[in-house]
């Protein structure tokens, strides 16, 4: 990269206006992503504007459109939906503003860089970890996120693919709980009636996993293993407490930080690699403290 | 009127009703009614409140479907399942309850259901032109573009009449059209009715004003308890009609027993609201019935509402027992002992979806509350007593007020204020739609109120009632009090003279 700027990353962001459209802030995961992004922007001296698309793809297009007319030097988009983000990206392209995608990729349009960890891979990882903790046999239920969202789709797909490799494990029920803790609690309570013999739970996010743990009560962590997704602070606390067996940690703060760092570079015309992989990691009791620290 | 015009088939039977029956949950509304309508005749339906008059005509207009019996038009049995069916058979109806759309203009209401169209789009210009013609025919000067909601109740009635005329029907049904009209409009209406009759239209006319029967009717069918008891000529003496209808004679139609007035209870001084009434001053003394007469739009209702605190006023004051009342505060007025029976029973008097007990207890709700809790049993008992006293025809105190007959609804509105025991009762058209028997009951109640030292201010467009029941008559015109006449010297001519003289240049004909 030959940005032309003399200083290092720490001083190179001054006066750079960056817009970040987050898919939703109704979820601690994305709140962390925002926090990471804001911290980095402050460090670099860039001006970061964050908007909340409230899980609505067309509001997100609106927000990117508005960013463009505000003269942002770079735009970070955290797509509500990978396909639906394409028009937004094309729109910014027309105004020659570099766009970075964070957390989810964009299909059907070329972004400057995708800073992401792979949800499908994360789902597979969750399946492997759950199988390991269950001794590769048992009955498992899946708590699904909001039907039709890409996060639910990809995580579910990864998990289904991953769990298929363990013939001793049977998925006895899949029910939607809309990424919501209360619904996780209610749905798990109900599933326990029809499937009292479950030994494992995969929840497509930590919120639902925490709800399920509430429903399981004393069983959580002992006779039933719960695996969540996201590695939110509450989730990590539950891991340390032994009720949550594991969570696929995507390090949202790191995602946000990396996205801003690279957005500043892009704004200065630096060339960036097409993808920046922030690895998914599985957080378990052994390594949970590492995640909490960040 | 138009003597030389040919009268097509006068006396020829157009519509016949045989053994018609209709029951509602808990009530047999009609139980075998026969009726024959002939071209060129005005057929009066007579009966007590709840006798089934409105139910009968609603089956002719397609609003209800009969349970038994049949309807024949031109000798052939017909099924009238909707208003459209009735219109196609040439039957037009003016209902007892207002059936206009308040948010729409007068013109649109007149064309409701069949607006003139051009290229599929509504031809507003033609619609308004037509409306103007119709309005002129009934003699009201209203701009067709006025919203119906902005009209007074009497002019709404005239619009209803115009709307029915627009159909050019063979059978025209009018359910108590004169209840809300004053003398001059009634005259106007009768002229229209006679004219239609002479053109061969069969008119069904419902009224509780017996004197109107001889004026406009040809034949009378008397309904009692859902049955048609007899058909008599309209020239039958009133006493006889009353006997047929009520089952017993009524000796005195206006049994007012005046007493010497006591101290002033209600004093109104210089009450003014721009555009409605100007400098209105009067007082009402204990034991008095004060009549308030005037033409439609004279502002009587507005004054009463302002006195009661239902509306605000610009200047002047209202005193009860010598103490001024705050303006625009119904609650304070009630506390001071005022009560108002409003003229629009459906819009302002009743909670139509609630039952009879609930409605009767509305005004006394606060009084029946002890420690936050309402004594509903006590309220029910009290409601039962008033309902019995007023002779409300109902299936029980739990009947929804919506399903009561018009006159019985009016009794409920009066009843709730009787329960409240207000010391000065403002009655705005209190006996509108009430049958002769029940009227006498209400007059006697007024007597007992005044005998116990209470007072009544009675607004009425029924001049005989004003003259028969008031101790003093106040006359309003164009928002001003134009005169006061003592009961002794009061005649219809004297009152009308006052009401009209001031109005020569006014909006009312």
């Amino acid at each position: 990269g030959s940005g032309g700027s003399s200083g290092g990353a720490s001083s190179g962001g001054s006066d750079v206006k960056i817009g970040l459209s987050v898919s939703t802030l109704n979820n601690p995961y994305f709140v962390q992503l925002r926090t990471g992004a804001e911290a980095e922007a402050k460090k670099l001296g860039a001006t970061l504007t964050v908007t909340d698309a409230q899980n609505d793809a067309s509001q997100q297009v609106n927000q990117v459109q508005n960013f463009a007319s505000q003269g942002m030097k770079a735009i970070i988009i955290n797509p509500v939906d990978s396909d639906a983000a394409a028009p937004a990206v094309k729109l910014a392209e027309r105004s020659s503003i570099p766009v970075l995608a964070v957390d989810r990729g964009v299909n059907g349009a070329q972004v400057t860089q995708t800073v992401a960890s792979d949800n499908v891979a994360g789902g597979k990882l969750a399946a492997q970890e759950l199988a390991k903790q269950l001794g590769e046999k048992g009955k498992v239920v899946v708590l699904q996120g909001v039907a039709g969202t890409s996060a639910s789709r990809d995580r579910g797909k990864g998990f289904t693919e991953g769990i298929a490799g363990y013939p001793g494990i049977q998925v006895v029920a899949q029910q939607p709980a809309d990424f919501d803790r209360t619904k996780g609690l209610d749905v798990m309570t109900n599933l326990l009636q029809s499937h009292p013999d479950v030994t494992g739970v995969f929840a497509e996010n930590d919120e639902m996993a925490l709800g399920a743990i509430k429903a399981l009560g004393g069983k959580a962590g002992t006779s039933v293993k719960v695996v969540g997704f996201d590695g939110t602070p509450d989730g990590l606390k539950a891991i340390e407490g032994g009720t949550l067996a594991a969570s696929v940690a995507q390090q949202p703060a790191l995602l946000g930080q990396q996205a801003v760092q690279n957005a500043v570079k892009a704004a200065k015309g630096e060339k960036l690699p097409a993808t920046l992989d922030v690895p998914v990691k599985i957080a378990t009791k052994d390594n949970a403290s590492e995640f909490s620290a960040s | 009127m138009s003597e030389e015009r040919p009268r097509p088939a006068r006396g020829q039977e157009i519509l016949r009703v045989e053994g018609l029956g209709k029951r509602f949950p808990g009530v047999v509304a009609l139980d075998g009614v026969d009726l024959v309508l002939r071209a060129g005749e005005v057929h009066v339906l007579l009966g007590e409140n709840g006798a089934g008059k409105s139910t009968l005509i609603k089956m002719l207009s397609g609003a209800y479907h009969p349970d038994s019996g049949r309807i024949l038009v031109d000798g052939a049995p017909v099924e009238i399942r909707s208003a459209g069916d009735a219109q196609r058979l040439g039957i037009a109806t003016i209902y007892q309850e207002f059936n206009l759309v308040p948010q729409l203009s007068v013109g649109e209401n007149l064309a409701l259901g069949r607006p003139p169209r051009r290229f599929g789009l509504i031809d507003t210009k033609r619609m308004h032109e037509r409306a103007r013609g119709l309005l002129a025919r009934v003699g009201v000067e209203v701009d067709p573009k006025t919203k119906v909601a902005d009209l007074g109740i009497a002019r709404m009635q005239m619009v209803e009449i115009a709307k029915a005329l627009a159909l050019d029907a063979r059978v025209l049904i009018m359910d108590e059209p004169t209840a809300v009209l004053t003398t001059s409009e009634v005259e106007r209406l009768f002229a229209i009715v006679r004219n239609l009759r002479d053109q061969g239209v069969a008119v069904v006319f419902i009224t509780h004003h017996l004197e109107e029967i001889a004026q406009v009717g040809d034949r009378v069918t008397v309904l009692r308890d859902g049955r048609s008891v007899t058909e008599v000529p309209a020239t039958t003496p009133q006493d006889e009609l009353v006997r047929l209808m009520v089952g017993r004679p009524i000796d005195q139609q206006y049994p007012r027993e005046a007493a010497a007035p006591g101290a002033p209870l209600l004093q109104v001084r210089g009450l003014t609201r721009a555009g409605a009434f100007t400098d209105v001053s009067f007082e009402v003394r204990a034991g008095e019935v004060v009549g308030l007469a005037g033409l439609v739009g004279a502002g009587r209702t507005e004054v009463a509402r302002a006195v009661f605190g239902a509306d605000r006023y610009d200047s002047g004051e209202v005193l009860m027992d010598g103490r001024p009342l705050p303006g625009g505060d119904v609650h304070a007025a009630m506390e001071a002992g005022l009560g108002l029976v409003p003229e629009d029973r459906k819009g302002q008097g009743l909670v139509l979806g609630a039952d009879i007990a609930e409605n009767l207890g509305l005004v006394t709700l606060r009084r029946a509350t002890h420690g936050g809790f309402v004594d509903r049993a006590g309220q029910r008992t009290a409601a039962g007593e008033v309902a019995a006293r007023l002779g409300v025809r109902m299936s029980g105190l739990g009947q929804e007020v919506r399903t009561l007959s018009g006159g019985n609804q009016q009794k409920i509105v009066i009843g709730k204020w009787l329960l409240a025991d207000a010391r000065v009762l403002l009655l705005d058209e209190p006996t509108r739609g009430i049958d002769v028997g029940a009227k006498v009951e209400i007059y006697q109640l007024i007597n007992s109120l005044t005998a116990s030292g209470h007072a009544v201010l009675m607004i009425s467009s029924d001049l005989p009632e004003i003259l028969g029941m008031s101790d003093r008559v106040l006359v309003m015109a164009r928002g001003r009090l134009v005169g006061e006449i003592d009961a002794a010297g009061a005649t219809q001519d004297a009152v009308m003279g006052l009401a009209v003289t001031e109005v020569e240049d006014a909006r009312v004909h």
């Binding site: 209360t182 029809s194 | 909670v351 509305l362 509903r376």
Partner: protein, 320 residues
Amino acid sequence: MSTDVLTRRPAVRGLLAENGPLAALVALAVVLSLLSGDFLSVTNLLNVGVQAAVTAILAFGSTFVIITGGIDLSVGAVAALSAIVLAWTSTSAGVPWPVATLVALVAGLACGLVNAALITYGKLPPFIATLAMLGVARGLALVVSQGSPIAMPDAVSHLGDTIGGYLPVPVLVMIIMGVITAVVLNRTYPGRAMYAIGGNEEAARLSGIKVNRQKLITYALSGAFAATAGVVLASRLASAQPQAASGYELDAIAAVVIGGASLSGGKGRALGTLVGALILAVLRNGLNLLSVSAFWQQVVIGVVIALAVLIDTLRRRGSA
């Protein structure tokens, strides 16, 4: 089978005939117990009760509002805000939990009063006033919590437990709030005034009812009930969440309307609302037990809600 029982016990039949929604609930329960052996256990029925509790409490509050002819879209957001206020004051601000609970209830009440002020003095349509409050309350919940869940104090979390190992506290709270609703509606002045206002506001005013004041009470009650629901919800999860109860306003209104109330006002009952909330909860519970696929669940819920009310209206028409 169930018809036999009904014919033999006229009291039960009378109750069902008068309570269309109750009949629908019973029918739903019968179908579900035939389809799933797990449905008709005591534990599961108590679960259903717990799951209905939050919606039911919100719906009780909405019943007042709907009876007056209004609508309250803010209940879900106010519930979330109150829960956040409770968690925040008792943890970050260190206020003892009983005081914090009171503060939360007052917060809910205050939201209701603002709604009422906008509606009565500001003459805003209830839809707009409470929609605005929805945004404001949800936003404030996010601002106070910084968008993250706040753990509830332990003492309050016990509200999510059971008493004597059987009776879940949320169910108890639901019953208490239901009884309060029934008493307020049937026996108190404000309750009767609500019916009158919803039936004919002008007639109520001309009968001496202070309409504005009664509306203040109505919306304040709705706010306080929403706060209670928020506390129950948060105590069940042991954590207050800024996004909790999103969209619950529609569930609450649906429960009230399924229970026989009319959005044009003047009608509605506490028991009906409870039944409405239970119908929704039974339905969701049953779909979980039957493991209906995620995509089809919404379809089935929609169809069953329509059917439940349809049966009720058709029955009423048949008897009329």
